[in-house]
Amino acid sequence: MTIKLGIPSKGRLMADTFDWFSARGVTITRTGTDREYAGRVDGVDGVELVLLAAGEIPRELAAGRIHLGVTGSDVVQEKIARWDTKITPLAPLGFGQADLILAVPKTWTDVRDLNDLDAAADAFRRAHGFRLRIATKYHRLVRAHLKAAGVASYQLVDSQGATEGTVANLTAEAIADITSTGATLDANHLKVIGDVMHASQATLFQSLTAPMSAEDQRLLRGFLAKIGVSPGG
């Protein structure tokens, strides 16, 4: 019996996660060649490393195939309907901060907030015969945010990357994306309007659906005590 810990399989997020655990006395090392997705957890008993694409960790947690996982709170809320019934956050890790924001061209001085966006979107629809397009990969979060604010007359178009470029490429009029410094928005002549829709950061999550034996519970308590995190659920 082991506790399965899902960690992003590459990049900055993986390295920062390794460092975070290492600072708490748990050493995670990759084994085999650097192309092999395998690794080892030292300093604690009964914890197995599962390297996964960051975007798949929410699904694995929700399905209960891993007990713990590190990923951005944005992808959890975007990908899992009623996420809080399946997954619980244990600890923000203090890195990977990014805000989900809505941005429009800087030259839209008439659009200062969501009230203006709604009115501009209505006029746009009448002028162009289709709804104002917002490019994003965060469909659920953006739709929920705009619905709560009562904004209508828009449509979401899917953009999985280089989202800030869609406005200049005439495939969208506005964008909703995560930003950490705002430099990319600035370089693409865009400005933020409205509130931050979601303030995301790398977070240690626990699955509420993973089956656990008494032994697993004991191992989990030991692991969380070691890294100084209170158990959830």
Binding site: G150, A172, H189
Partner: protein, 354 residues
Amino acid sequence: MTVKSDIRAEANRLRAAFEARGAETFEPQILQPAGALLNLYGEEIRARAFVTQDPLRGEMMLRPDFTVPLVQAHIDHARAETRYTYAGEIFRRQEDDDTRPTEYMQVGFEIIGHAPSADAEIAADAEVFATIADTLNGLPVTGTIGDFNVLTTAILGLDTPRRRKDALLRHLWRPTRFKALLDRFSRPAPPVPAPADLNIPHVGLRSPVEIETRLALLAEEAETPLLKSVEVDRLMALMAIRSTAPAAVDDIKRIAGGDEDIVDAARGVEALLDALAAKNIDPATLKFEASYGLTALEYYTGFVFGFSAPNLPTVATGGRYDLLTATLSGGRRIPAVGGVIRPDAALALRGAAK
């Protein structure tokens, strides 16, 4: 435990009852092109309907209702006044509540394309309501009615420019935005922003002319007198009416405070109640809610109604949807009113009544 074949039998029984009242049967495809639905309902429909992809036909949806394909067929075949009925599954995506079903049966009765007069409207509204009430006869349901005409009349009567009234009418179905608009029109406008610095490159399809036009509108808006608080209060009081139907008519007249247009709207409700009484429906047994259906039934424009019972999904809902027929027909006036019954709920009540 209700089995699907029982629900289907109940649906067929209800549909046969509507056919006996002169309705012809409509049987649309389950997969519908997404375009018309998206154009009509906007992005919100994607959260509520199952979207799928056909390699040749593009984006398709599992039908979230029958009304849209029915109105399209009515328009495509250039039909005159017709009564329709249908029975079958509709599909609704559930993002927040996994206790709600993703598919359930609906049986409908609709009158599309009747004469555009006020008398014909009341006759059709009463016919749809009474027809559905008759098929639910004997079941312990409470009928509730509403009439958007009362609220739209009060909005159109505000002492403010047409563009503000249009904005309010457009958002009548979104309470958050509606209140935000009333609030904004009741307070001095913030300073009008300056045009963008010419050194900032313009990007995107929304043109500099469109931005200038809206800046000019904001300037005009800043000069526009505030909404009168007495008129806003009157509108809010009308929206809050919940009473038995005859008492609600008195409430509307009282709140109207001599405003002839609103009193006329009250007389419209009164005429409908008379038409219902002529069909043996006692108005005193009906509830009236001025905001009925405001959050759920986006496309209704005039008379709305529902039949409900405790601890069950709404057994039947319906209303007038002239705006939907206008949108789908490119602006033509095609008066239409209809309603749907959920046979599963009707069956559950029948079982409980035994």
